[in-house]
Symmetry: C2
């Protein structure tokens, strides 16, 4: 295919493209060098151009539109499904957006403007207004006639939505039920008055939860007053769920969410998004220098203490990251709510104690072995050093799991996304406090011997 494009055998290219799925055609165009994208796009048969356009990467879409005539753009945009069109339009700069909207037919412009009127994180932005609706006094026969007339653009025909005379959603009926019933059955006879709906101003992430709970492939969207305004299909929800997970993962990793895929993010943005947290963590970590400066005299007297600094504080950081990861993800999936803090705290303190004692035992073993094998000399008071390390690890790991698990609750309580308490953030906090724990325990145990 690429060979034929390079050789400009356009007839062959056109023929081959018409044989493959729209999504694959879009993939091929995405991968082409810029100069050839518009040329190839223009070869596409008119009736497929819109659906292929829907599958293109956002930046490729923008680029192709620039290379097309107004009439071509108009034809594509009028044929696109409204939810995908919204996703395209919302990325345009304001003046171009206005111009582009004017290319649409009156009907489509009205649809597009109303969808763009919603907040960008709201369910409204995912909506398509093409669905099948019916009224309670219709017969099944009338429903089918209605579908025949208006069903072509509908994203799903699995369910028809029943509305009252004011356009308010009053029920949903599986099309299977209609197909099973005699044609003269009235819609109201099939109703059970049980339905699930989304609200147009609802946050997208809330919609993900509802889809997850009810296992649906599409859900109706209503306004505050219950008027049916569109439907959302689960394929868009899958994308929202992915984006959400990516955002959470990036926050965990201690950087601002990128918004764009890694490969599409410019280098300067990449650096900026990372620098913020990195500087905050660095400034936070500076307190370790202060803390160690405070114990200057102790280190001077017993350099052996300094040797274990990275080991003990990183153990606190690691156990804190683990706890934070578990709790934040469980919160994102609504497995834990604020009221569970006490339950979590008890579990984490117990886990922390067990894990700390385990690491402590390994630490004692290491010091004993190295001393006995003559690999390192921890001074004549090495058993006391070992005891210090043991209690420090128990203390620090418990403190790490406690901070890691409680900070997400605290953040959530004051209305901040718990994912902000990323693993590096918890690790930094535990590093600083861990040093204080370490040197205090050392001062207590080693006073009169090494110190």
């Amino acid at each position: 295919m690429l060979e034929q494009i390079r050789q400009r055998k356009w007839n062959l290219v056109r023929k081959e493209l018409s044989d493959i799925h729209e999504s694959e055609v879009a993939n091929i165009i995405d991968e082409l060098p810029e100069a050839e994208r518009t040329v190839v796009f223009r070869l596409l048969p008119r009736q497929h151009a819109s659906s292929i356009f829907e599958y293109l990467e956002p930046d490729v879409q923008q680029e192709i539109v620039k290379g097309l005539g107004k009439r071509e753009v108009a034809s594509i945009l009028n044929d696109m499904s409204p939810d995908d069109r919204t996703a395209f339009l919302e990325k345009l700069p304001d003046p171009i957006l206005k111009e582009t909207l004017n290319l649409l037919t009156d009907d489509e412009r009205r649809v597009a403007s109303s969808l763009l009127g919603y907040d960008e994180n709201s369910v409204g932005r995912l909506m398509t207004p093409y669905y099948v609706q019916a009224q309670p006094d219709w017969t099944v026969q009338q429903v089918f006639e209605h579908i025949r007339r208006y069903g072509k653009k509908a994203e799903t025909l699995n369910v028809i939505y029943v509305i009252d005379e004011r356009g308010r959603l009053i029920d949903d009926i599986r099309i299977a039920k209609c197909l099973m019933s005699p044609l003269e059955t009235r819609v109201e006879e099939l109703m059970d008055d049980k339905f699930v709906s989304l609200v147009d101003t609802m946050d997208k992430e809330e919609a993900v939860q509802i889809f997850r709970q009810y296992d649906r492939t599409a859900l109706p969207v209503v306004t505050d007053s219950g008027v049916l305004v569109g439907i959302v299909t689960v394929d868009d929800i899958l994308d929202v769920a992915e984006e959400e997970a990516t955002e959470d993962i990036q926050k965990f990793g201690g950087l601002e969410a990128l918004d764009l895929p890694y490969v599409e993010t410019p280098l300067t943005t990449l650096i900026r998004k990372r620098a913020g947290w990195l500087i905050i963590l660095f400034v936070g970590e500076m307190f370790t220098a202060s803390a160690m400066g405070y114990f200057d005299a102790e280190i001077q007297k017993a350099v052996v203490l300094a040797l274990f600094v990275p080991l003990v504080i990183s153990s606190g950081g690691n156990s804190g990251s683990q706890a934070a990861t578990l709790i934040i993800r469980a919160m994102a999936l609504k497995e834990l709510t604020l009221s569970d803090w006490w339950y979590v705290m008890r579990r984490e303190l117990l886990s922390g104690f067990a894990l700390g004692a385990l690491l402590g035992a390994i630490g004692v073993l290491r010091i004993t072995l190295w001393q006995k094998l003559g690999l390192f000399d921890y001074s004549e008071h090495w058993p006391l050093v070992a005891v210090t390390i043991f209690f420090t690890l128990v203390g620090i790991v418990m403190w790490g799991t406690l901070s890691g698990s409680m900070i997400p609750f605290a953040l959530k309580r004051i209305g901040i996304d718990p994912a902000t308490s990323s693993a590096p953030f918890v690790a930094t906090l535990v590093d600083v406090t861990g040093l204080v724990i370490y040197f205090s325990i050392a001062a207590f145990i080693l006073r009169g011997t090494l110190l």
Copy 2:
């Protein structure tokens, strides 16, 4: 509701439960004390029992089944949709599974056994064999008659699947197309020979990618030889995508994936899943003690160097975590492949240099300020100490971003899940090597003055 259950007003409870959605009824039962679950479940009208059962938590399902008679269990299981039933059956211990399968009707048992025959990570486990199929020589009229007869259990009616005389999938047709066509149209006239399908033995995660690419609400599943055996709907794919993200997040956080929700994981399992990585990291981090022991003499001479140890190594760890997070997620979403390593390496080295210089500048500022303000005395050679810190940070941050971004590629190359290179893992690696970088730069710059 809970009040009425406590007062055992069963008639009221039954009435109220029949007015709400099955998924909400399931939520109520999930939250009840154990003793009351089976009692309340038995109040449910027979025709809803199966669909409510499908929505219950796995452990609640097991418990309720224990409290029901064989005939009740049989009726529920025969009515469940096959994919949800598979999810229930696969959690049963072997002897009970056999007994339970015997409760099914011959037809349903055949379906259930064939689904359970698939590998637990394969698409086959998500499949339902209820879909609408047609043959090319049927008329649209015949298709509708077929739907009327067999469409009741079908999970989706949006698309009908066309098969040849050997049962092989040859096309899919949107039901809308049938509804728009005259009743005497033949199915073959509506075919375009373009369709997307999954293979039954394919990994679930691969199916997520395909759903994401093609924006479908359901996809047909075929065997190796192309025979249509079922469909998968996207609501199940949403669950798979969530599980996948949870697993990745937990691996990032430096612990084994839990398999069960946090609240359902027993404390001992929780500790075991965390202990593994924590011990590995601890043992790895022990090399920091060795590395510092190696520079024992330098620390003795210049305790001031020890003060900055946590600061410089954590900066390497943090920048490494950031890089690893970005790369691993981009790999999971197929934005990056193995062949991109060189592109990533250049970007990350540049980012690392910029970020390292930034942190280095802040470090120099801090030392200068503290010295001038008399907050701490970094010795008469403090400008050299500042220079040491600057170059160390540039070196360590570049090294951190490089390791964080390249380790996922290396792991993927040798066939290990890149998510295994969790943030703590990269941090530990960078801690150890970071110390060597730090003391080497210090030795070079400070020789003859402090050292």
